[in-house]
Every structure is written in structure tokens, then in C-alpha cells.
Subunit: 204 residues, 2 copies
């Protein structure tokens, strides 16, 4: 049996596993309470590690949030890169991907509320890169005549993202308008059918 | 000079003015920190009243939030009722109304994050009434052939609301996609032009 007092950060047996446990706990806490509301104590307790170890790995709560965001962005990158951005099922497919990531949507909302106009966006370079691919796919479809050439491609991307993300992000508004919860199978099926038709209206 | 100890809630000289001051302070605090994060102490201090008086008028923090929401809904009702829901400028006009109400958008976001799937939506009857008028206007336009008849009217309303609200609600995503802040005059002008065109695509 090792003596506890000498077990410092540098003696952790499974540093990668410990890091993952902290990140998973942090994702849950940030998604539930936001960056401002999250407590490092609660994250450490949930991960089953001591707070010193957490600070050793991530330096600060802000550093931990950046790491969570980077990790989720990296996980989502392959799907985003492979996505069809201009075909008739593009919106329905985007809905499938986003409906499967409620914690991601909540992180984006907390970020929006806590983001001040002047502050830098976290992990801006990676995120801008993914969005740039999307914008370029729209521009290529416009050049081919598959999407209307006179629409601003950036505004178009923002609108398509919104068409899918908005009902999932505002469950209370979705319930007021449609009578259904946006996570219910009924809503998702109804919305999928609508998005297929809606997306086609823009390309006819 | 009156003795402070005998000045109870029933002796307030301008009850309506005091109520307004509390509601204005509460709107600021809820919009900045959400319902969970808002502190009744801070609201009382901002309004310049004592906490007992606040509880006398509104009973609880939840009661105060309901009153703020009811008040904002009542203020917005005349504009919403008069709005053109189906004409070519409908989206641009909706943007003008929503861009002027950033505190309202933040309240909706906090409500979304703090709303659990099973809980009732605050002031649901009033809100559903306003939305129902909108849905009926869309259905009438569909019957007249001014909007495509095969689109689900509720999903259509949800989408049009999202097309305008989404960029304003997620400033960081708007900046990543367009390079602009959604509250900047440049963004609002660019978005307005896009929304006019986008809305027309659905009606041609």
C-alpha cells in the first residue's frame, strides 16, 4: 500500500485515463451549469480526483473549459467534414447529428450567454476552419447552379444551422409552437419531413 | 422625519412606482444571470427597496420572474398582433423588433437552459395565443396561395422565428460564420437584405 502523502500529480498511474475522467465530469458540469456556474470542486468530486490534480492538468476552470470544447470539436470534426452540405437531405442529416448531441447544444448556449461582444471566441481557429469548408461547399453549389447564386453564402450557412439548431436549443418555444418536445421522436420525424421539403424549396 | 421601524410594506407612498422599479431591476438581473443565478438581494439593492417589500409584492423569486415575463409579454403584444406574418418584408421586420430587445432574447435563453422537459412553460396561455395568431396568418396565406400549401404551418412559424432569432441568440456563432457581431449595423443590414431574399424564395 502506497502512502497517500507522497502521491502527487507526477505519480498518477494512468494519466490519460485520469484526464478523460476529468474531461467527462467537466462536460457534464459545464453543460448543466455553464462556465460561470460550474464548480471545480464538483467536477473533481464527480471525476473522483482531488482538485490539485485537476489544476495540475488544466491550470484553471477556463483551461478546463477550453479542453472540453477542444475535445468535443475534435470528436465532431470527422462527421462535420464528411457531411453533405448542399444535397436535398442536408438539413435532415444535420438534425440527426445535432439531436444526438444535447450537451454540445447546451455548451453553445452557455457560451452565447457568457460571451461578451469583445471577447475572443474559444478555439476560434478550429471552428472557423470547419465552418469555412461548409461555406465553400455552398459557394461551389452556387457556382454549379444547385443553390441560388444571389444568396450570401455565409448568411445562408448561418440560416441552415439555425433552422436545425433553433428548435433543439429552445425547447420551450418549440413546445409553445408545435405542442411537442423537440427531443420527442414525433417532433424529430415531423421536423425531418419539413426540413426535407423546406430545403428543396431553396433549390428548385 | 418618519421612524424607519414603522415603515412597512403597507405604508409605501408610491406602490405602482415601487413595483415598476423592482420589475426593471429584476429584468436586468434575470437577463444578466438567469433565473437560477439571479439574487433577490441584488434585485432589491438595484431597485433601492428592502427585500421584505419585494417579497410582499411578488412572494418569491419565481413569482418575480413570472411578473417580469408577463410584463414583457404584455409590452410586446401590440407589436406582435400588428405584425405582417406573410409579406415579403416579414422576416426583416421581425429582425427589427427582436434586435431591439436583447434582454428579451437573453430571458428566452435562460428559460431554455433552465427549463426541464416536464415543467410547464411560464405564461403559456398568453404566449400560445400570440403564436396561434401567427400560425393562423400563415395558414390563411397558404389557403390564398401566397405561401406553399404543403408546408406544415407550425414548423414554418418555428423556422421563421429561428431564422431571425438564431443569429442574435448565438453571437459567437454569428461571428465565426460571418466575421461580424450580430448587433453591429453592418451585420443587421446584411442580414436584412438576405432575409428579404430568403423569404421571397419560399413564396415565388
Amino acid at each position: 500500500m502506497s502512502t497517500r502523502t507522497t502521491t502527487g500529480p507526477t505519480r498518477v498511474r494512468d494519466p490519460e485515463g485520469t484526464r478523460r475522467k476529468i474531461l467527462a465530469a467537466a462536460l457534464q458540469e459545464f453543460s448543466a451549469k455553464g462556465i460561470d456556474g460550474a464548480r471545480v470542486d464538483a467536477i473533481a468530486a464527480r471525476a473522483g480526483v482531488n482538485k490539485q490534480l485537476l489544476y495540475y492538468y488544466f491550470e484553471s476552470k477556463a483551461g478546463l473549459f477550453r479542453a472540453v470544447l477542444r475535445e468535443r470539436l475534435a470528436e465532431r470534426a470527422p462527421e462535420a467534414a464528411a457531411a453533405d452540405r448542399t444535397g436535398p437531405s442536408r438539413l435532415a442529416d444535420l438534425q440527426d447529428r445535432l439531436a444526438a448531441a444535447p450537451d454540445w447544444i447546451r455548451l453553445l448556449m452557455w457560451e452565447a450567454l457568457e460571451h461578451s461582444g469583445r471577447s475572443a471566441v474559444e478555439q476560434a481557429a478550429i471552428r472557423r476552419g470547419t465552418l469555412q469548408q461548409w461555406i465553400e461547399a455552398v459557394e461551389a453549389a452556387q457556382a454549379d447552379g444547385a443553390l441560388p447564386a444571389d444568396l450570401d453564402a455565409r448568411q445562408f450557412v448561418l440560416s441552415e444551422l439555425g433552422a436545425v439548431l433553433f428548435p433543439l436549443a429552445f425547447p420551450q418555444l418549440t413546445r409553445l409552437v408545435t405542442g411537442r418536445s423537440p427531443t420527442s421522436p414525433e417532433f424529430l420525424a415531423e421536423r425531418r419531413a419539413f426540413l426535407e421539403e423546406f430545403g428543396t424549396l431553396l433549390t428548385r
